[in-house]
């Protein structure tokens, strides 16, 4: 790596880490979570970046270079559809297969009990042995090829496990190499490592489905609670083993359905087990979590506040970031705040104004990272992304 690039990288890493710890770096770091924007900018179709991960990595590098990003996600189009093809997951609609090649992949959630990947009477089996339930019951339902222990075995089943495992190894290796290239070619930090899902979210997203869970919380609340408790240590371990071993960059929690439930339900089903995962990662493993608050999580700020100082970086999407800053700015770093509709429809001047305001209020004392509210997709205009960079460089220095 050229010496000057190494220097740039070290500066950016320091800037990123300092801001994450809610301290004052030399300048506000630019840390966009950019997905389909990168492929559009680099001239690739959604099918190309979803199916050929090297192109996705390359698209990110193009943007990281041109927009001078300090830190970014090495591949925000995180579902490599090659793995989906090999293992046979039914729940994705993939660009170039079921979707237009220019539309990003999407998760297709079963609409009813009949289609649910976990049935209403299977809570006990999940609770008793989560990993076995996933392998024996859940996977045969979500994969076109996998069969359960009660079925007669097939060649395709054996090969699906083989190819699924190999796919993840191959992808993991490629991500490692891409992180390195992002560093040596762009001087940009790969900003996030392992994934956390709230136990309740995973139950609602991938196991029962949101509509089914919405009824389970009334029909069998004790089982829902026990299932969240049973999933908790597994999801903690899942994040821990996928986290950056050098502990330079945080893991992230992709918050999903927690705002759709009442206070009582949040308190009972969502919060306790998620809180425990985040605290364990922080206190036992020294790992920070990006609290990616998709939607508006302001109403649960009182709970988020309970987390230990610096344990999270609070990413604000549709919430009021200024209010978030007032309430938790002394405890946690904050990221986000640039509206996605402005990036799509606004002018560079308008974007710069917003960025300036964010820097001068939320970023006033450090602990702020520049990013859009939600993940940046192909609707964002390049000139507006450029404006975000310019404003950060112009107004972001301390």
């Amino acid at each position: 790596m050229p010496e000057n690039m190494e220097k740039v990288y070290q500066e950016r890493l320091e800037r990123y880490k300092t801001a994450n710890r809610n301290e004052k770096p030399d300048r506000v770091p630019l840390r966009p979570f950019a997905a389909e924007f990168t492929s559009k900018y680099a001239g690739y179709t959604a099918q190309e970046v979803t199916h050929e991960y090297e192109k996705a990595f390359e698209a990110v590098r193009r943007c990281a270079k041109d927009f001078q990003w300090d830190a970014t996600v090495v591949n925000m189009i995180y579902v490599w559809s090659g793995l989906v093809d090999h293992f046979g997951q039914k729940y994705y609609k993939v660009p170039g297969i079921e979707l237009d090649p220019n539309v990003g992949f999407q998760y297709f959630e079963p609409a009813d009990e009949q289609g649910a990947f976990m049935k209403e009477d299977e809570y006990d089996a999940l609770i008793e042995s989560p990993t076995e339930f996933l392998a024996n019951v859940w996977m045969p339902r979500i994969s076109k090829y996998v069969v359960g222990p009660q079925d007669s075995n097939t060649y395709r089943n054996n090969m699906a496990w083989l190819k699924g495992g190999l796919s993840l190894m191959a992808y993991g290796g490629a991500v490692g190499a891409a992180n390195e290239k992002l560093k040596t070619e762009c001087g940009t930090v790969s900003c996030v490592s392992g994934p956390i899902k709230a136990p309740f979210d995973i139950l609602a997203d991938k196991l029962r489905g949101f509509r089914q869970v919405s009824m389970d919380v009334y029909r069998q609340p004790d089982k829902v609670q026990k299932a969240c408790e049973a999933l908790m240590p597994y999801l903690y371990m899942n994040a821990k083993v996928a986290a950056d071993p050098t502990k330079q960059v945080p893991v992230s929690v992709w918050l999903h359905r927690g705002t759709m439930f009442s206070k009582d339900m949040y308190e009972r089903f969502f919060w306790p087990t998620l809180k425990e995962i985040i605290i364990k990662l922080w206190e036992e493993d020294d790992i920070q979590t990006i609290w990616y608050a998709e939607g508006n999580w302001d109403k649960w700020l009182q709970y988020t506040k309970e987390l230990p100082e610096k344990s999270i970086i609070y990413h604000s999407d549709k919430g009021d970031i200024f209010e978030v800053h007032k309430q938790v700015g002394d405890k946690f770093a904050i990221s986000g705040g640039v509206p996605n509709d402005l990036l799509a429809f606004g002018t560079p001047e308008e974007v710069k104004e917003v960025c300036k305001k964010l820097i001068q209020t939320v970023g006033k004392d450090g602990g702020y990272l520049m990013d859009a509210q939600a993940i940046i997709q192909s609707d964002a205009k390049a000139e507006n992304m450029k404006a975000m960079t310019e404003a950060t460089l112009e107004y972001g220095e301390y």
Binding site: D100, N102, V103, F108, E109, A111, R211, V213, S214, G295
Partner: protein, 208 residues
């Protein structure tokens, strides 16, 4: 049993009790229309509570499921009667977007409120919307999306409606997590519903 028991039970989301009370009332000779009225009143109350943030999306989903089972009990007669619709509405998730939870919720609320809904499903091409508006003569069309990339599909659908020469006949409402007033203005729609209940309110006003 007082006349309001079914209403109360549904408002309180007491699934078994609703079923039990509906069956008992029918046995005792209560008119299905009267029961239906109570159920619909309860859903309106739940909608109001939702607006006041006293209840949430899962409550809407659960109440919809309870309602569905109750209407089953009332038998085919009331279903036919229910179909004497207050008006027609075309609803769909726009092209390139396959998310259906929000869209389905709007459909359910509209149907429960007595509207005749043409549900186009998800990933709906602009020309499909146009065709359905023409065929049904609906005065309102609702477009749903969950992705910011869908803004383009919204614009294209509005344009297709304009090109078909039917823009004046139809009010266009949009909804979904990433939608804002700005998106509504820039894509040329008439109304942005911040949630399913607001969508229902807009349709009700359009047909009042």
């Amino acid at each position: 049993m007082s006349n309001n028991d079914i209403y109360e039970a549904l408002v309180n989301l007491e699934e078994k009790k609703v079923k039990q009370l509906v069956s008992q009332s029918l046995e005792k000779g209560m008119a299905p229309e009267e029961i239906m009225e109570q159920l619909q009143k309860a859903l309106i109350e739940i909608g109001d509570r939702f607006e006041r943030e006293e209840c949430y999306v899962p409550d809407l989903i659960y109440s919809g499921a309870i309602m569905k089972d109750a209407v089953e009990l009332l038998g085919p007669k009331i279903k036919e009667k229910g179909a004497e619709a207050k008006g027609k509405v075309v609803v769909g998730t726009v092209y390139g977007d396959i998310h259906d939870i929000g869209k389905d919720l709007v459909v359910m609320l509209l149907q429960n409120a007595g509207f005749d809904v043409v549900d186009l499903g998800v990933d709906v091409k602009p020309e499909k919307f146009v065709e359905a508006i023409k065929e049904s003569g609906a005065k309102v069309v609702g477009m749903s999306c969950l992705l910011t990339i869908s803004f383009d599909a919204i614009s294209k659908t509005v344009k297709a409606i304009e090109d078909a020469g039917i823009r004046d006949q139809v009010s266009i409402m949009i909804g979904g997590a990433p939608v804002t007033e700005l998106v509504k203005d820039k894509t040329g729609c008439d109304y942005y519903g911040k949630d399913a209940i607001h969508g229902l309110r807009f349709v009700s006003e359009a047909y009042s």
